[in-house]
Subunit: 185 residues, 2 copies
DNA sequence: GCCCGGTTGTTGATTTTTCAACAGAGAGCT
DNA sequence: AGCTCTCTGTTGAAAAATCAACAACCGGGC
């Protein structure tokens, strides 16, 4: 990628995030973002459809960084592995202000969607490795648990992380373990 | 000035100054500066003839900032005024590392030239306001005192500011006062 | 209702930056 | 001596960013 593109996108996203910590998303204008980023307003539109797209893309970049940080090595993030879970919570704790702002001021679905996808994959594989009670529908079970997982995660962030990451991991793990015991055939 | 030019020049100068605090000027390459600034090498050449020109321009920018900071208000800097002298020394003290590096690692004459010009102006006006002994040639006297002033200033910077700014101001002022008494008719 | 100011999204012409490539110079090695 | 590598200074074509301008829309005030 041409370095000019990289620089412009970076400047715009950084400016956006700075403004997000000072302003209400709805009242923020593209002109303000452009000025903060020291780029022409047209340049913002070259890279982003509108400020909603900017928010979404910002979230995606950040989540990709989260994932890259939480990966044990080359491979997928398994949120059903305690280590990966630990890393995820700790990373989120360290970037608390960003996620807090992004999740509270505007209902971007990017975070939820991406985290749910992750939970779904991990849980799907996990349930494949145990003997799921035949009376339970796998898809519904996976969705149930994913939603619960993401719900807790979002709650923790939007409520200013009332407990340290370590406590969250412990509780999460505990719940998963106990629920799992009820699913054996 | 087009914002792209501003951004490029700023990035290049900042990168240069960062590298100056880590490397020997002579061994520094334009390619290193371009990489540090995240611009194409050709861009460096668009704005600066070579690294010597870059050093000179950097010095000029910084000295202009020094002057802007030391001006009492709209007007000229009078280095024969104690207030202006105080401000100058204090500013230099606060930017010690920059000036120290710039004056020690490469013999750029920009600082010396500009400061001498300043001293000359101030002293010239100052001597106009007193009755200079007729036996003294004004131009020679002005040059004598300017050189002395700049010499002390440079010595202070290149010797890591052995005394606080306040001491330097006091001594400077004292010397100027005593020497002046010897010049009356 | 109308008017005004601010914002959005877009367009076209221009400028600046990028990139790759080239020729030349200097230093070090065989 | 020749060869290689690195750096310098430059060139030309392409791409990205800039700027000014325009039309349309929205919200607030009279």
């Amino acid at each position: 990628m041409d370095r000019r593109i990289q620089k412009s996108r970076q400047a715009i996203m950084n400016a956006f995030m700075r403004l997000m910590s000072e302003k209400d998303f709805e009242s923020m204008t593209v002109n303000q973002i452009a000025e903060e980023a020291n780029v022409n307003r047209g340049t913002v539109y070259l890279h982003f459809t509108d400020k909603y797209d900017l928010l979404d893309q910002c979230m995606e970049v950040q989540i990709n960084q989260l994932l890259r940080n939480c990966m044990p090595e080359e491979g997928l993030v398994h949120l059903t592995s305690k280590t990966a879970l630990q890393r995820t919570f700790e990373y989120l704790e360290q970037h608390a202000s960003f996620y807090s702002i992004m999740l509270t001021s505007k209902g971007s679905a990017v975070f939820r969607n991406q985290m749910e996808t992750l939970f779904r994959q991990s849980l799907s594989e996990h349930l494949d490795s145990i003997n799921l009670d035949r009376k339970l529908n796998k898809d519904i079970t996976v969705q149930f648990l994913s939603s619960a997982g993401v719900g807790v995660l979002e709650w923790w962030i939007t409520h200013s992380m009332p407990y340290p990451a370590s406590v969250m991991v412990e509780q999460f793990w505990n719940l998963l373990d106990r629920i799992q015991l009820q699913m054996f055939e």
